[in-house]
Symmetry: C2
Subunit: 209 residues, 2 copies
Amino acid sequence: MDAISPKPPTRIQQEKRERILEAALDVFSAHGFGGATLDRIAQAAGMSKPNLLYYFRGKDDIYTALIERLLDRWLEPLRALDPQGDPLQEIRAYVRRKLEMSRDYPRESRLFAGEILAGAPRIMPLLEGELKELVDDKAMLLERWMAQGRLRAADPRHLIFSVWATTQHYADFDAQVRAVLGPEWSDEERFEAAARFLEALFAEGLRTR
Amino acid sequence: MDAISPKPPTRIQQEKRERILEAALDVFSAHGFGGATLDRIAQAAGMSKPNLLYYFRGKDDIYTALIERLLDRWLEPLRALDPQGDPLQEIRAYVRRKLEMSRDYPRESRLFAGEILAGAPRIMPLLEGELKELVDDKAMLLERWMAQGRLRAADPRHLIFSVWATTQHYADFDAQVRAVLGPEWSDEERFEAAARFLEALFAEGLRTR
DNA sequence: GCCATTTTTGACCAGTTGGTTCAAAGCGTA
DNA sequence: TACGCTTTGAACCAACTGGTCAAAAATGGC
């Protein structure tokens, strides 16, 4: 008897769960939790609804599985902030990595944004635990850099917020960004212009004179 | 016969519509369009559902009425950017006003964010029209200031995006901000710290050396 | 090829949703 | 008081929702 893992998932189970999560990411990120339906997710995954419910207990189960899997990847860029590196270069690299994530994983960003927008009812413990600890840790690092005069003195947590806000904006508010810029900008041009602007803003805004 | 306005709305009609919109703002901003129900809005407005539907044609009608009414107030701070003023002071004031709106009208901000997040299906024409025109206009003003050397050269549209993103973050992602900062910050302290940080970031980031 | 297990599906269900019906109840005005 | 118009709510409806069930199909070890 194996109490911990009575039945190791088969290859087909993993594949199907993966296909479902991929489809659910599409649907949830486009319509929100309330606007998404199991039928739609099942159709997008190319299977029947009962079949989908054979692999997941229900709508909430799929949703939470998606979000939990997300958080790790989402925090990776902040984790990579290196205490040994040059402060301004580290922040610049952080901004760039975060912006790349908005470009490469916009659906994930929107899913996350929708959850927070609704008050984060399903992941509040994660935010108050794992996320807060990481931010507290990196805030201390930033404060150290500021005390050493290698970075302009400023509230480190609000600095982190502003990086999140500015970079995720290009995924979460993509519709607005496109509408305002007009159709004459390609995806690459938009990304490059945003990267240039944000790197300069933070570099100049945080450089000690 | 009055073709334009065959029946001027009575005082009671205006009051009831107002009460409904107020209640709908509560419900829509908290649960999103899909998650909101007419019953809930009717209950929040203190009336029966058929009564509510006597004043509005349907769920969409309420939602669009809310959003359209919003846009004007939302753009006011950007409109107030004064060509005669001092560039850095104008931007600083713009950031402060926008942040005050996040503090004073968080439900409106979240409603708007939800709409954009879903791809702005109902207000895309407004974004491509009114909003784009205003941004184009103010971008020219910023470019003029930059050409005069009164502001660091940078992409003016992405500058506007970054002001939107950083300030609205405190309304739209309020749940996350609170979770990360912890309970020991009062609303005023949070707002003051955010204002200080953002004003400094943009002032230093855009100042010519 | 046989059998137990896993995977898939069509049919179905109870609850909720946006929206309607219609008759009763206000309400201003003469 | 009597008349028309506005306002209200109980009951109702069709469509859709998340979720179930039992039986069929596919799979895999022997």
